[in-house]
Amino acid sequence: MAGALVVLGAGHYGWALLMAEETWQVVGLLALAGMATIAAYKTGFVRRVERDWAEAEPQLNRLAFAVLIGLILVLAGSHFALLMISTVLLYFIASLGLNIQFGFTGLVNFAGAAFFGAGAYTAAVLGAQALIPPLLILIAGGIVAMAISLPLLVPIVRTTGHYAAVVTIAFGVLFRTFLEVNEILGGPQGLMVESMKLPGWDFYNAPNLFGFETSFYLNYALMAAGLAALVFALFRRLERSWIGLHMDAVRLDETAAACFGISVRKTKILAFLLGNLILGVSGALYGMMISFIAPASFTFSDSLLLVSIVLLGGLGSPWGGVVAATIVVLLPEKLQLLQEYRFLLFSILVILVLLFRPEGLLPRHLRNFFPNRRTGA
């Protein structure tokens, strides 16, 4: 019950936040969220929610998806709200990719925006060719992102911790500089991206729902929601599978994992490629939605934005990722009211959150091998 209540409440809150225009509304909503969280902890409501979640996760996940679709349909007419929802969802998908890499396996990736951008650029280049079906382009985006990460495999597998970080940082800077000095891919000026087309369904046109005029972003919001659900399900499966177990083992102690016969190398390669695939797919859809991309959108600081979603949400925690993606995407947008002061405030907010919740907003719990069985305490 408590779990369902939270899901419904969150959906309603999301609607209110998206609709909030005036300063006092935004500030009020933020204060409300803060107070509700504190109240939930003081009254022990949080523990009940957690228990509900442990008991009936599949049902609650389905409910959350239904609430999301409901939210999208309620907002079917407002372009901007749908654009924000789609952006949050795509960043969330990207953060799942990163979570496989460093939430599970402990592989640091500071070039998230580069792989995300590789997907978007693939969409731009392939979209210009009329012959290739756009749904295939999404997959191609993922595959290209995976392919450009191949040269990094050797250094990534051999290095650990901060040393791995510098490899990806270097790659991120390299990727962006390369796009900028190179005219082939539009140079610093960027490229147009064709919109998504399914057979008989052009995403450029607004769908007509029962004679009710909607936004063309509805297409993307629904598609992003579907993709998010798919990747989320995959993520959960992976976590429960033996591969996920291997990944956890590699993160916690490489030497011990190797002693138990887990191939550290294979596990790392798998996590790195799979994560980049997901990043590329979400990047491709993002490119199609934004319809224009340039190197300036895929910089080191955009990679950091992705990393901060993962860390704010809590390592390896997909639900934390949802909350964090909402904060990271929506908050700077809502802080537009503050104009030039907004980044200062945003960075201070993140620092405060991390000081008071060092494990992230919704930390990942220990593995639960019997999801439907009641655990002790």
């Binding site: 050797v154 490899v167 270097a170 800077v173 390369f178």
Partner: protein, 306 residues
């Protein structure tokens, strides 16, 4: 290529290398004692340079015009101020997060860097524009063919290297250095031996930040221009240099700093009319080096506890 050109490249490379090494030393020190990466290092450096600049404005205002006196004042204010800031960051932002995942420290310091940068941009008078940093060093130069060796460059390189040398002495020859090394090796044992852990950590952060401020002032004196974004790229390069050289090792930081400067200079000298590719080149080499030497050119002496 004639002698003058080569000499010019060499002189530039050495100066850049010294600057990068000074920044990298900070990263390596922090990593040594706490196993953390403090990403706001570059922005703290920028803040230090602005403190120095403000000190110079103050000295001008009260009528001190002797350049050497001004230089002393600028360095004193900047180094002391930045050291204090570094210690404060360690005390309130980094030590409290000691038990949290390492990456959190990274994120929190990244955000702190953004906050510092934005704050300087917004609240320093006219902070979004570059400032003219005074040339306080003698600008005499010796012409050797087509190459002009400038006195200020020489002074900057010599004093930068001297600072690194002094730091090395502090780490290896003093009681404080002994304590820092002890903490770096094993925190718990160091505590039981009666070392004031918190104090040592704070001292290390103060020293590292002070050294970075020196690099910032050096940057200002050499380019005669400072701006709120100068720390970002210096921090990134310093970090890469520290990693490539091998963390937790002063020599590694120095090696990494000079290596990176060398790569940049070689990249722009040997890739004619495509100097835009020099960063692509430098970072590609960094990736290749990491594949070859996964723990840096001078690896940490450590073994995994099994």
């Amino acid at each position: 290529m004639d002698f003058g050109l080569i000499a010019q490249y060499l002189a530039n490379g050495i100066l850049l290398g010294t600057m990068y090494a000074l920044v990298a030393v900070g990263f390596t020190l922090f990593f040594g004692v706490l196993d953390v990466i403090k990403f706001s290092h570059g922005d703290v450096l920028m803040l230090g340079t602005f403190i120095g600049f403000t000190a110079w404005l103050g000295l001008e205002a009260v009528g001190v015009t002797n350049p050497w006196l001004q230089l002393a004042g600028v360095l004193l204010c900047s180094l002391a101020g930045t050291a204090l800031i570094g210690a404060a960051i360690a005390n309130w932002l980094i030590l409290p997060l000691k038990r949290a995942p390492q990456l959190n420290t990274l994120l929190i310091t990244l955000m702190l860097g953004t906050a510092i940068r934005e704050a300087v941009r917004l609240f320093y008078p006219n902070g979004s524009n570059p400032k003219a940093f005074p040339a306080l060093l003698p600008d005499a130069s010796v012409e050797i063919g087509s190459f002009a060796l400038r006195a200020d460059s020489v002074i900057l390189v010599v004093s930068g290297l001297a600072l690194i040398g002094a730091l090395n002495l502090v780490i290896n020859r003093t009681r404080l250095g002994l304590a820092i090394r002890a903490v770096a090796q094993d925190e718990e044992t160091a505590r039981t031996m009666g070392i004031n852990y918190t104090l040592v950590v704070l001292a290390t952060f103060a020293i590292g930040s002070g050294v970075a401020a020196f690099a910032g002032i050096m940057n200002g004196l050499y380019y005669n221009e400072i701006n709120f974004g100068m720390g970002l790229i210096l921090g990134l390069i310093g970090f890469s240099a520290a990693i490539v050289g091998g963390l937790g090792n002063l020599y590694g930081a120095i090696l990494g700093g000079f290596l990176f400067a060398g790569l940049q200079v070689v990249g722009s000298a040997l890739l004619p009319f495509a100097s835009a590719y020099k960063d692509v080149f430098a970072f590609a080499v960094v990736i290749a080096l990491m594949a070859w030497k996964p723990t840096g050119l001078i690896p940490e002496r450590s073994s995994d506890r099994v």
